[in-house]
Point group: D2
Chain length 336, copies 4
Amino acid sequence: MILLLKRNTEQQQIEHLMEWLKGLGLETHLVKGKFQTILGLIGDTTAVDIDLLNGLDIVEDVKRIQEPYKNANRKFHPDDTVVEIGDIKIGGGNFQVIAGPCSVESEEQLTGIAKSVKASGAGMLRGGAFKPRTSPYAFQGLRGEGLELLEKAKAATGLPIVTEIMDASHLPMFENVDVIQVGARNMQNFELLKRLGKVDKPILLKRGLSSTIQELLMSAEYILAGGNSNVILCERGIRTFETYTRNTLDISAVPVLKELTHLPVIIDPSHASGMARLVKPLSLAAVAAGADGLIIEVHNDPAHALCDGPQSLTPEAFDELMTQIRTLLPLIQAQK
Amino acid sequence: MILLLKRNTEQQQIEHLMEWLKGLGLETHLVKGKFQTILGLIGDTTAVDIDLLNGLDIVEDVKRIQEPYKNANRKFHPDDTVVEIGDIKIGGGNFQVIAGPCSVESEEQLTGIAKSVKASGAGMLRGGAFKPRTSPYAFQGLRGEGLELLEKAKAATGLPIVTEIMDASHLPMFENVDVIQVGARNMQNFELLKRLGKVDKPILLKRGLSSTIQELLMSAEYILAGGNSNVILCERGIRTFETYTRNTLDISAVPVLKELTHLPVIIDPSHASGMARLVKPLSLAAVAAGADGLIIEVHNDPAHALCDGPQSLTPEAFDELMTQIRTLLPLIQAQK
Amino acid sequence: MILLLKRNTEQQQIEHLMEWLKGLGLETHLVKGKFQTILGLIGDTTAVDIDLLNGLDIVEDVKRIQEPYKNANRKFHPDDTVVEIGDIKIGGGNFQVIAGPCSVESEEQLTGIAKSVKASGAGMLRGGAFKPRTSPYAFQGLRGEGLELLEKAKAATGLPIVTEIMDASHLPMFENVDVIQVGARNMQNFELLKRLGKVDKPILLKRGLSSTIQELLMSAEYILAGGNSNVILCERGIRTFETYTRNTLDISAVPVLKELTHLPVIIDPSHASGMARLVKPLSLAAVAAGADGLIIEVHNDPAHALCDGPQSLTPEAFDELMTQIRTLLPLIQAQK
Amino acid sequence: MILLLKRNTEQQQIEHLMEWLKGLGLETHLVKGKFQTILGLIGDTTAVDIDLLNGLDIVEDVKRIQEPYKNANRKFHPDDTVVEIGDIKIGGGNFQVIAGPCSVESEEQLTGIAKSVKASGAGMLRGGAFKPRTSPYAFQGLRGEGLELLEKAKAATGLPIVTEIMDASHLPMFENVDVIQVGARNMQNFELLKRLGKVDKPILLKRGLSSTIQELLMSAEYILAGGNSNVILCERGIRTFETYTRNTLDISAVPVLKELTHLPVIIDPSHASGMARLVKPLSLAAVAAGADGLIIEVHNDPAHALCDGPQSLTPEAFDELMTQIRTLLPLIQAQK
């Protein structure tokens, strides 16, 4: 870490600062230039509060030399992490599609979709049991009952199940869940992240609506630092001024994350766009950009076809998309 | 709620939709115009999933006539809510300043600041015991010990204490806290909000970094719907493209919220700007815009003066600001 | 267009409004429902000021049934527009890559790059003669001299040339330019757009940094309404809170624009990301999402290799990318 | 300017870079630290392309020590600029309110409003003759005829007139305009800014919807560098994710700009919010935050009262606001 000090800083103030930094266990190097005084810090600066330093009267600017994440950093872990869920692998050249309904509604619905997406080539089943809803009056999910239905669908198909947790106190109910999802709104629920760092299950961590790529990596770092090294990152659209799509898919996040971290990176085109007809082009774009997987909403209840979620594919559309992905994928992977 | 249906929608589809809506307990009114078919819904539409309706093939657009929040809505509760914390009142013409350090560090620090801000006219003491930090390696607050120090400062000064909760499981430790703060990152931690709806303490709810005004009101609605009617809303800056300030204070949120809701609205100029020298102009602007209060960071540890947070006022600067607010306030209140 | 009127609106006010609307040449249809009064407008509503209507005291909301653009609207022009520049076609299944340096620097530089990108398969040559620069002290481009160098490069290679105009008064100098580019900062320079509507050359219209998709189409409409039907739209990244990349490429804009308009849509991965190493994944993503072309920065001056723009590809990297695009393109086009 | 070079950069590359920088007229200072090599640049770095340097392979980061604007910089011009328009002064403790209709519609309308706002205490008259409209089909303003009506209103009241220019070629028509306004959409129309740098009239420069504070200052610099030192800056709301208000007023821009520059800073609460009922609280907030003035929309045509712009005050509301401002202003100015 490098501190650029303001001109005219008094020697006494500089020494005061250096002593304080030494108290944090850091080695300091003072370089007085003709036009600028620079203070270099050596040691573990990950715990240093960069905002605090930036706010000091005598500091002009602070520049991190190293990213503030260690465990998630590709510099220190050059090889791709491969997350294994039973026989299913994701990352390191292993591409996976997670598919299923937005909400778990019934055994018939869920098992039907599970069989269908498995036949189309999905590697895991998604389905919301606990639903984060903006309104307290909206359906909050089947909760515990939804988890049981997911387990039944898993028993019927063999597909590992992925579902969202909303509070650490629910963890005991997630014993038979294969991958625990942290939703966008909880990406910086640090107490939850700490608890998931102690869990022996892969975590699917979704980027917050207005979280930077670095903040996503810092949240992954909370889980990794706790001892759980199986984290899958998911870009699901960010909040911008554009209102035509529900969110703006940040496709650049795929190559950027692949460069900065060794963790698998997947895309959620359903939530990013909020429109079923955009799922296909965005999925293909994600494959082309180098993503390790996709998480896609599929709904198949013909009796309520009228009420299909706006962002859900029909099983037929999903099947067609999977065929296209299978054609595209080897071509992209060959070009790396 | 009004649904504009697409042209060429078949009668059968419309009837299918109407039946489904009736199943939700809603009365429907079909108006077939020359150029557009409109379906009006009467009843409690707060639980209706507007995204789902919008996504239906036959729906062109959905228009809510009523806001989706009821308990927080000024239309149904025209009088200002006055939140009372002991003798301290906020809202309904009662202006309060909450002041104190970013983090609780020691008894000496906290009680010193508490005495000082009380002398300057602050009505409540703030101080972080549990600290949400982007990095897992950064200081996470004194946690339980910090809460004890807050209680000691309260005992020494009589100032009610305001501090942030990060997880519902910590609630038992908050027994002696006067106002429980929900931080910006937890504004949509719905499980936490539900729990706070059952608590018999005022809640200070901060707007999320990228949450709309309506989303803030919906989060307040979670607490109110649970039975806790003492919610104080806090605008603390939103995330925009501008990087000069840490966040962009949305000053318009003050008059907008005062119009939409009866709940008290306060401003946090310290976090909004991230710069102590902007706290004064932003505080005065908040008063002029009609805010019911302010929450301001004040730090007074002379031994570590070097490390004062960049956004914290000194006790002297805070005292001067309080004098200015006292001059300005009656003038603004007289103009309402 | 539909106006939802507020409850309790007096009959006299409604009649006043209807008369005023008739004065604008619109037919009005009043539908008084049990709970809402609706006023439908028939006729050419493109000139109606929706903000003005929204602001009327008696209006609850205004809903456009038709998009406010006509000439650019796919509903009225279902077939893809194919823009022809000599033998080069773009749109309607014709994919083109426009390549060249950020700034025109010298004849040697430009002609060298032109030959190189032509050999790799580029269909047009780009190069900035007039450069929009944030700082008045930065290099403003070779201006007229730059245009001459572009003409020489065209003569040497046969590649049509694409270059940016910054002021309508420069138009006479653009006589030999094949495609006139309107930069992101001028997307809403309406006087310039009007002038370009009278020009007999294709226009490459870049989306503004914070312009919505609809605003981009409205700016295209300015050109089309003037009589110039050859407009190519270009998504080049929008401004968001994310700072890792220079802008955020809105990849969803490709399928959205292809749905809303018949005009060709291309992507500028160089400006969107600001990083050469992201150009390849974003280019492939653009192809996969269905774009009609790309505009890519290529630089080849070995003597100044040190100063290659951060977002420019070397000719070698560009050649490799073109090979990958040629492999990917037929696969994507076959899937439509 | 300071360049942090990457580790492992070869000596030859560093020398290559230093030679190139010397070619730009800069003095270089190399500081090789234990862990980082730093290259300091002395000289006029305003013309250096920071993006280009950032993109060099061997450069880790670039840090400007000096702001890239000189003429607009308070460091070099500590005293407030006072812009004089006849007897009217703005800046340096002189507060002015510019008021008038959004669009000039008729002599009767404009002169009526002009007399009214003058009586209420406005110092200048605003009114749009050339109107930037998103739609080519919307009313584009009375243009030349509108300018004539503004001159008549000036003759009738003595109020200096402020109106927007949309293209440099219209300048001859602006001979009798007192203050030329550059709209938000043209803030980075650099060719126009250059022309206005040669004009002997004050320029009212509005911040672009998605322009940073630094970009606003760089656009001012274009005008100042051309020799025109009379620039008034105007914050008029930025584009964010919040849709309740038309834009988000960045109130922090007032104290930030007052710190960074000596130019007068005014606020446009009408365009920032798009709602007449927010104009009062935002105007008072602007005064409290230290603004040098306001520009406010006022409309008074009783015959078309129905069609008052949603963001325009009535003359009565404006008069009341002016009274409040006159009470507030001395109190705020006394506190500086």
